[in-house]
Symmetry: C2
Subunit: 198 residues, 2 copies
């Protein structure tokens, strides 16, 4: 039975769009394909997303948010040792990206095209992640575990940049190589020593 227009939520449209992108690829997927997959008119889709670009950006955002949500719990767990939280947070980010790239390489490639178009969603995502890191750094400074010369946010951004090899999609090929875990450990340990109070 085709769903009625009443049941058409933004979330259902985004799910269907991901499926259409998976099937047709990012170059060919259209709003008409999405409407057809949902059994609705394309006008109904446009009532939720005013343009094709807005729909694609919302799909990117949903995909990126899945990663940040998984990490938010670690960042917010203020009771725990900041060094352990930082280590876990960076490992969870690496793991999440690696799983996305490895489990479904075609969908990953599709999202690379999409995020390339969606500057706003990506910038928001990166700001969210740096914000989470800032919280961990700030907790560490407050507890006396970390000592940093400038604002916590500057350090958080430096941590994020220094670990790019382990979360930036341009390194996805490296994530399958043996030894990449050891490389990750060596970078994280060096950074933790850089944060540690003396």
């Amino acid at each position: 039975m085709a769903p009625t227009p009443e049941t058409l939520t933004a979330e259902r449209i985004l799910e269907a769009t991901e499926e259409v992108l998976r099937r047709h690829g990012p170059a060919k997927a259209t709003v008409v394909d999405v409407a057809r997959a949902l059994g609705v008119s394309h006008g109904s889709v446009y009532r939720h997303f005013r343009t094709k670009a807005a729909l694609r950006e919302a799909v990117s955002k949903r995909w990126l948010d899945r990663t940040s949500r998984a990490l938010a719990g670690i960042a917010a767990d203020s009771g725990r040792d900041p060094a352990a939280r930082l280590r876990d947070w960076l490992a969870a980010l690496f793991e999440a990206k690696r799983r996305k790239a490895g489990d479904d390489p075609e969908l990953f490639a599709t999202y690379m095209v999409l995020t390339d178009e969606s500057g706003g969603a990506v910038a928001e995502h990166l700001a969210d992640l740096v914000g989470q890191l800032t919280r961990i750094v700030r907790d560490g400074v407050e507890s006396g575990a970390f000592a940093v010369p400038g604002p916590a946010e500057t350090e958080a951004r430096a941590l994020f940049h220094a670990t790019g090899r382990f979360h930036d999609p341009c390194y996805a090929r490296e994530w399958k190589r043996p030894g990449v875990e050891d490389e990750f450990e060596a970078v994280v340990e060096l950074l933790l020593r850089g944060l540690a109070a003396r």
Copy 2:
């Protein structure tokens, strides 16, 4: 006057190849184009480079070597403070890559195609750079300025990976953004604190 075969050195062939690549792009450049540019037969070129792939790899290697040679002096300058040398070395690497990408974007793109084919030359180049960093780290440990928990080479590799944003061509777009210098400084300072003896 066309040069005689006697004057045909490997270096002259490599220079001509770079020029041909610049003119025709990496997809279309052939050994015949190179021979024509030099006024020799393609057999003469093949006497120096047995295959087109070998010639392209040698051109990549020459391009990569230009960067490592510029840095080798800083790495070898054992009399100087290791922290200052490390800072200068990383800044010189960033500057060299940024200049290559910014001054002649088309040639840079050509070399991205070439290095992608030339796994051996790239691996050698990276090993050379990590070797230079290892020397600086080792000098720092010996002088008591640095204290590291494991082998100097592990730290050197971690330093190289943690600064990828400032030398890896996949970030070339970022190098033109305002603020990238501050990002570089923040990462380098964090890493230097991680190396410093307590």
